[in-house]
Symmetry: C2
Subunit: 414 residues, 2 copies
């Protein structure tokens, strides 16, 4: 066509942009439902501990950043894969005799989501497949779709405290012709609130070793476990399997908006030099996270008092207990007691509820009738469940869960 | 092969990671050359104004962030495309009667590089082509390679103060069968130090209109122009062509490490609703830039005194003048006087220099003999040039440029 006859027409944007949708954000950012005007809205929706005002970060964390800001000496570009002193702080904190770390094993990223984005990008080519948990955090899929990576979902078993169905996964791996680039394991779990035992994690590592699968370990809820539970970093259990552990300040230090994350590369057989180089390359596209927060990381790690972490977990455990008290034993739903993180999944028996066909309808009606926002399990790949977040103040957790209770009882079939 | 016989082998990482390399960072992060021990090292390499200690950000900028930190109310997740009040601040600052803006036109990003990453991703599919300037900022290519976008380089003309060779570009566009997804125009320019006239920019817009090309306008050096020059935002000159302007705090506010960037979408014919939706989708993968800096943006814009911007430009202009005094008229090199930003490109006549075959050898020998770091033009796609950055203190600019002078004279053929 001659240039002179060209007309402007709609510019739709790339295919990648069209297929990249963060399901939680679509629900949480865009509010389509009118809550009950007689009841103040309570959200148990977004996993943001800073929202309720009851879980502020420690003043030492803030002061560490303020000191860097006032120095005016941390405003420049760090190396794209991260500031040396931030990497060194991570090495000091996370190195272990069973899995020693050096600064070359660390990549700083723009939040844990940025770390996940780098981890998927460095391991998986478009058209290859990664293994993701079902139910699981939605951003995994968002990132994979953006890159054009295929996803195979493996099942978590609600009846076994959300352990991975390793038998089914092994059967899949034996039978598939797909090229599997990585296996993502999330522990403690969003949305399940589960914390895996050492034994289960050892079984995971053995399976990864058998099928030669690098692990991406999403451990952003590291250490966020309730009494009686222990968090085991999976990399400490692997003598062969390469593990890219992703974590960050967001959850444990209660500053998700700061967007400081990192990748720890555990590579006991030294198979990953290309991946190390690839991480440096990929970090060159957006040049890393905020320099001031990176510069403050050594102080954040050393000056945050232990009492801060224990207070956070005490509040979360109390809130989880409040939710359990309100929701356990209600006909029509099944409360699965969480072991850590700040989430719980609750099963819905739609056969026992009037006018509710599925989990999305459950959460929409709950929003409209009781002004309580929860996310439907469908978002996490788990229909007939819904997720609650219990990091807001305990009295609001109690009020919201009481309303959920009333809602279920009101909709219970005779 | 039976699973039992599988062995671990090297994990090379994805093809995208392998082909994604930020050329500047490779040179600047990894120092392969030993400088002359008798001379202290001076770097005119990295475009980081905060490095020399002479160009600190304004205390009002720091205070705006400190206030948000101390409030403890800006630590949570903003919406993934940005905090409403940050977007509103950008609308207030940049909306113009000729190109009115609304908050829906703004996307916050992790630095201007993050904004570029989103802009390329939302407009271009893998296999499509974007037009990039030669010479040009290396991160454009880094990002495009990571996505799998093809690049066509269009020429900037050193003899016409680095204006775009629009005739050659038009000839290419008439003849090509490629699908061109976007045209990137960088003004003021890194690495050229050029500032385009209104007339030249109007010609660019007319060409984009003729060939129906959306423009990505990299205006991170907005307003950073020397006396007698005027910066014209290209979107204000377009009544038809969609423009995605990318900018951020890095250069003008002297805080490149903070990683706060943004995209302003100018869409006079309303062709870009899909692109708007795509930007929201894509921003969901890493969840946006630091929340505290976003929350501080309204105060940063309103409280930074005008004297701060003018002082910065006075220093840069004085330094550019120092470089000109030292480097103009030296046999073997051609100093091209910059009009803005903080860069200048200098031509090398290798035929007149002993033992120097090309620009990379020039900069490596300069580094080894005179302990002065500059980047070879090859990095920017422009062999037989080198780039200097003159944002460090004036006495160091003078010392470095005097050494470059000595170096050229020492290598001058008889």
């Amino acid at each position: 066509m001659p240039v002179e006859q060209m007309e402007w027409s709609e510019i739709r944007g790339s295919e990648a942009a069209g297929r990249t949708a963060n399901k939680i954000r679509q629900v949480v950012d865009v509010d389509r439902i009118t809550p009950n005007p007689a009841k103040p809205l309570i959200s148990l929706g977004l996993g943001d501990p800073s929202i309720g005002g009851n879980l502020d970060t420690d003043p030492a964390v803030t002061e560490a950043v303020v000191a860097q800001l006032k120095s005016m000496r941390s405003n420049g570009y760090p190396p794209s894969s991260g500031l040396l002193k931030a990497k060194a702080a991570i090495v000091s904190r996370y190195s272990h005799p069973d899995a020693p770390l050096a600064v070359r094993d660390i990549t700083m990223a723009s939040g844990c989501s940025g770390a996940l984005d780098l981890a998927f990008k460095v391991l998986a080519d478009p058209g290859s497949t990664v293994l993701l948990p079902r139910p699981g955090f939605t951003v995994y899929e968002t990132i994979c779709k953006a890159i054009g990576i295929n996803v195979h979902y493996y099942a978590l078993l609600p009846g076994r405290q959300w352990e991975i169905d390793l038998e089914a996964l092994a059967a899949f791996l034996r039978s598939t012709e797909m090229k599997i680039a990585a296996w993502l394991i999330n522990n403690p779990s969003n949305p399940c609130g589960s914390v895996y035992s050492r034994e289960h994690l050892m079984d995971c590592v053995a399976l990864a070793d058998r099928f030669k699968l690098p692990i991406i370990a999403d451990e952003i809820y590291e250490g966020m476990v309730f009494s009686g539970q222990t968090f085991h970093p999976i990399r400490l259990l692997s003598k062969t399997v390469p593990v890219l552990t992703v974590s960050g300040l967001s959850k444990r230090w209660l500053v998700p908006g700061w967007r400081l994350g990192w990748i720890i590369l555990h590579d006991p057989l030294r198979l990953m030099d290309g991946v190390r180089a690839g991480l440096i390359n990929l970090s060159g596209t957006i040049l890393g996270p905020n320099s001031v927060v990176q510069a403050a990381l050594p102080d954040i790690f050393t000056r945050t008092p232990e009492s801060f972490y224990s207070r956070t977990m005490q509040i979360l455990q109390e809130n989880a207990e409040i939710a359990r008290e309100c929701l356990e034993g209600i006909p029509g739903i099944t409360f699965l007691r969480p072991q850590g993180s700040m989430y719980a999944m609750i099963g819905i028996d739609v056969a026992r509820l009037n006018g509710i066909a599925n989990d999305r309808q459950f959460t929409e009606l709950l929003h409209a009738e009781e002004s309580v926002v929860c996310l439907p399990g469908e978002i996490f790949g788990m229909p007939n469940y819904f997720r609650i977040v219990y990091c807001i103040p305990g009295d609001l957790v109690r009020e919201a869960c009481s309303r959920i209770r009333s809602f279920c009882l009101a909709h219970l079939k005779a």
